[in-house]
Amino acid sequence: MSILPKRIIKETKNLIVDPVPGMKTEIPDEDNLRYLTVQMEGPGNSPYQGGVFQLELYLPEEYPMEPPKIRFLTPVYHPNIDKLGRICLDVLKDHWSPAFQIRTVLLSIQQLLGTPNPDDPLLSDIAELCKNDNAKYCEIAKEWTLKYAAEKKKE
């Protein structure tokens, strides 16, 4: 196992001491500081409002030269998030920059929940619905939030 870079220690410590508003970061396994879990509140004025979404985050060996690997553990009805929770977001792929941090990435994901991007979809059927019948899309998304994301909160 390689030595943990100072940056990862500093960043995770910072996330726990001074958390991003509406997010709770935890290190489930003290032996593996590259693996984090995040509880993210759904953004206001969106069908995800009121939900708390679980994410897992892994910092690969090449981090920060490569982006962190993040996925939703809670099912989300969203054109840019697939069944496995994988997220289609430019900063997690081609547009990653080592000057970004876990913090910036989490905020981008929260923002993506509130403002879906149906023109660059991961799931085309949800994207179609989002574009053509937004009310219906919001309704289903709200349903999913209640069904999956609200239960997590009670636990």
């Binding site: 030595i3 920060p64 547009h95 080592p98």
Partner: protein, 501 residues
């Protein structure tokens, strides 16, 4: 102790005075290496041309025999179609060199010899690269070094051109690799404490014993240094049950793994030499003194990418003037050749549809500034003023460094006086003082071409198989015949029904 390094590197024995000459000779050795490389490149296409012709005539002959057997019944239309397909395929083959074929057909001994020699050359180049990544205390530039401390860990990924970077640092065009400080609270740390921390820092981050990817590899662990040095004995350790290609991969893995281990040992020796010199032993004149260290690290700052503390003379991005340490700068590079607008993660070069020659669509996008995303990332570096320089390319030995008065209060004045122009705007990529990511990795172009060629080769191969199947398969022929009969019948039916009207 100073002689301990003589076994692996000539520069270990150099005195401080002979740096100039050693550098120039190093440079000249690079150029000869490059020339050799170019020659190899020049030779190979011609070799391939002749052999592709050989292979294509052979293929043509084979295709003709195939055409005879499958179309023996005398269907001239089909024959014409088949041969035109074959000829277009051959044309494609002529355009894109098909290396594997050419090797198959021109199975001469000289070719084998050349190949083996170039493997050894490649190994030697790689070995020299790793040697240049060893941090040596007596290659000191303004209190920093010519090789990275290893902040970003995986040494096997430091694929920048070490000769270029070393020269840039000596020429004061790039920040030297300074030893990083992990935490630094300027007010809380006394001079003594700061010096204590600096003195306890070794030249390189402690190594992981083995990297995950090298685990359980034969022919590495438990070997003597002598055995590790000898790459001829690698063959003895290779699993004989593997296929030819797998063997090749394993061989190169063992070689790299050994090199990693050897670099580790080299660095350990350098660390020992460093400690020895610090205690007043050989080369002590190249150890930075108290004054130099305090001047440097009292003005430290954090690199925004690795979060570590370095002396303030950072590299600065040419576009938005943000600081970046050399350790991070050498990590930033072009993406590997890939397709543009590649959405799907799995859609990489290795598992794409091979029915079409898409090699020309491969791109290797230039690296962008991590801060403002401007393409063609480049930095400028402002070295310390003349009187504050020490080490290589100066008169001042790091151990004789004098603290100049008023360094803190007048530092802004000093820097203004050397600054020919204030950096308020961005610099163009071709500005003479800009060091770009491409400059320290000049091979990116060759790599892109290689990737394109590989893809072309694979496409040609896939096409050959595809076409062969089409020519041979009688089932397919029957299908076509059946279809034609059906169409004929339909046509007759149609004309009959029209006649009936």
């Amino acid at each position: 102790m100073g002689n301990t390094t003589s076994g692996y590197d000539e520069s270990g024995n150099l005195s401080a005075n002979s740096y100039q000459s050693s550098n120039s000779s190093r440079r000249s050795s690079v150029t000869t290496e490059n020339n050799e490389y170019n020659n190899i490149n020049k030779n190979s296409p011609s070799k391939n041309n002749t052999s592709t012709i050989n292979s294509s005539t052979a293929r043509r002959a084979r295709a003709q025999t195939l055409g005879m057997t499958t179309n023996g019944s005398g269907n001239t239309g089909k024959q014409r179609r088949a041969s035109s397909v074959v000829s277009s395929l051959l044309n494609a083959g002529m355009k894109g060199p098909s290396f594997s074929r050419s090797l198959e057909f021109s199975n001469s001994n000289t070719n084998e010899m050349n190949k083996r020699k170039s493997t050894r050359d490649r190994q030697l180049i790689k070995e020299n690269h790793y040697k240049n990544l060893v941090v040596k205390f007596d290659e000191c530039v303004d209190g920093g070094y010519l090789a990275p401390y290893g902040v970003h860990d995986d040494e096997t990924k430091l694929d920048y051109d070490d000769n270029v970077v070393r020269q840039l640092i000596i020429d004061r065009k790039l920040q030297p690799f300074y030893l990083p400080l992990e935490d630094y609270e300027e007010d809380e740390l006394s001079d003594e404490d700061l010096l204590k921390i600096l003195n306890s820092t070794l030249l390189h981050q402690p190594y992981a014993d083995t990297l995950e990817k090298f685990e359980n590899l034969p022919g590495v662990n438990g070997l003597t240094t002598e055995n590790l040095n000898n790459s001829d004995n690698i063959d003895n350790y290779i699993d004989s049950s593997l296929s030819k290609n797998e063997k090749k991969i394993q061989k190169s893995l063992i070689f790299t793994s050994r090199l990693y281990k050897r670099k580790n040992l080299w660095q350990q020796k350098e660390n020992e030499r460093f400690l020895d010199a610090k205690a007043g032993g050989l080369g002590c004149s190249m150890v930075p003194n108290k004054n130099l260290l305090l001047d440097l690290y009292r003005n430290g700052d954090e690199c925004p990418i690795c979060f570590l503390y370095y002396p303030k003379n950072f590299n600065v991005s040419r576009c938005c003037q943000q600081p970046i340490c050399s350790e991070c700068f050498v990590q930033i590079k072009r993406k590997d050749p890939h397709y543009k607008n590649n959405h799907d993660d799995n859609n990489n070069i290795n598992n794409i549809d091979q029915s079409e020659d898409t090699s020309e669509a491969l791109v290797s996008e230039c690296s962008c500034c991590p801060y403002c995303a401007t393409p063609d990332f480049g930095v400028t570096y402002e070295p310390p003023v003349m009187i504050k320089r020490s080490g290589l390319n100066t008169e001042v030995l790091p151990s004789n460094y004098q603290r100049t008065e008023n360094i803190y209060s007048d530092s802004s004045n000093i820097s203004k006086s050397v600054n020919t122009r204030p950096r308020t705007s961005s610099l163009p990529v071709n500005h003479e003082s800009v060091v770009t990511s491409d400059m320290i990795r000049p091979v990116w172009e060759t790599n892109l071409l290689k990737a394109k060629l590989r893809l072309k080769k694979r496409f040609a191969k896939a096409n050959t198989i595809h076409m062969n199947n089409r020519l041979i398969s009688t089932e397919e022929q029957n299908k076509i015949k059946k279809l034609e009969d059906e169409m004929l019948q339909k046509a007759i039916q149609l004309s009959l029904s029209e006649n009936n009207k």
